[in-house]
Subunit: 183 residues, 2 copies
């Protein structure tokens, strides 16, 4: 399948719906790389324009790719091999378009129901037809209104019967990859 | 649905398959409480016999239930309200049996395929019939052989087409709850 995942640190919203840049979380890199590798995602893009945050991500990747971690835990080395760091959404769109030779179908994710939805079953079918797909995940309190208007469609909220819906982004990525790619 | 989740810190295996006790991880409490609440799990049991670890869990729960966190983030307060701390498997089995008035169907989870499997669709059906179900998750390198022999059945491994399967326990809980309870 031609599928990539992107974790966005800027632009995202804070609790008050103001646009902010969020900090990279070490465990997001681990959990999302592991689940992405387990579900055969091609690349896990980490999107941040901040120099100190990029340096931190590079140090963590290096630890697991070439440093002590690379011999201590080979499984983690393999998971980290699919992470790529990009500055912003433009660089993300350019990298995925270049890789696949066409613009991927680009999906946003959100804890609330939004217009312009595509169902999980329909997207599974799209993937089976070898259409490239890029799934965006926001950090902090989620994506900006601008971004929802840029994407091709939005995936439906996750959850069960109740009204409570507050998943970590790690949980959301895991469940969505299983819904799209699980066997 | 009558479903509980338990995160086991003792007894579990280390990388060399020796039996150990693992440390509680703050983010496991957050992520698993949040996904459990989102999927309407009744109780998220944290199983550890170690006094210092129980103290740590209590401090974290108190922060979000009655401390600063309880007013800062009401959603997190609600997620943490379903956590219960138990000393060991015996206490876990006693608590769930007492709560439901009968011994729950008890399932282990594992990254490898094992005998005595029950499928996700079958277990969804069992839950729909109001049978109480307890799903056990191991920390560190997973559950002990003894525990696999004690349970009623084991859930199939997660993942997609590839041979790589190294999910965090946070991802595994999230995906399994979605498979059993997702709408």
């Amino acid at each position: 399948m031609k599928i990539d995942v992107a974790l966005i640190h800027y632009p995202v919203c804070n609790k008050n719906k103001e646009i902010i840049g969020s900090a990279v979380t070490n465990l997001n890199l681990h959990d999302i790389a592991r689940v992405s590798r387990t579900y055969a995602v091609d690349t896990f893009y980490v999107v941040t324009p901040f120099a100190d945050q990029k340096e931190l991500v590079r140090e963590i990747i290096d630890h697991w790719q070439t440093g002590h971690g690379s011999t201590y835990n080979l499984d983690r080395k393999e998971a980290f091999s699919i992470i790529e760091l990009v500055d912003d959404l433009e660089a993300l769109y350019a990298a995925t378009k270049k890789k696949w030779g066409e613009k991927p179908l680009t999906l946003a994710t959100c804890a609330q129901k939004r217009p312009n939805q595509i169902g999980y079953a329909e997207l599974r079918e799209t993937l089976r037809k070898e259409t490239p797909v890029l799934v965006l995940f926001g950090t902090a309190s989620g994506m900006t209104q601008d971004l929802f208007e840029q994407v091709d469609a939005v995936l439906p909220p996750l959850g069960s019967v109740g009204r409570y819906n507050h998943l970590s982004v790690r949980s959301a990525v895991s469940i969505i990859l299983d819904r799209l790619l699980g066997t």
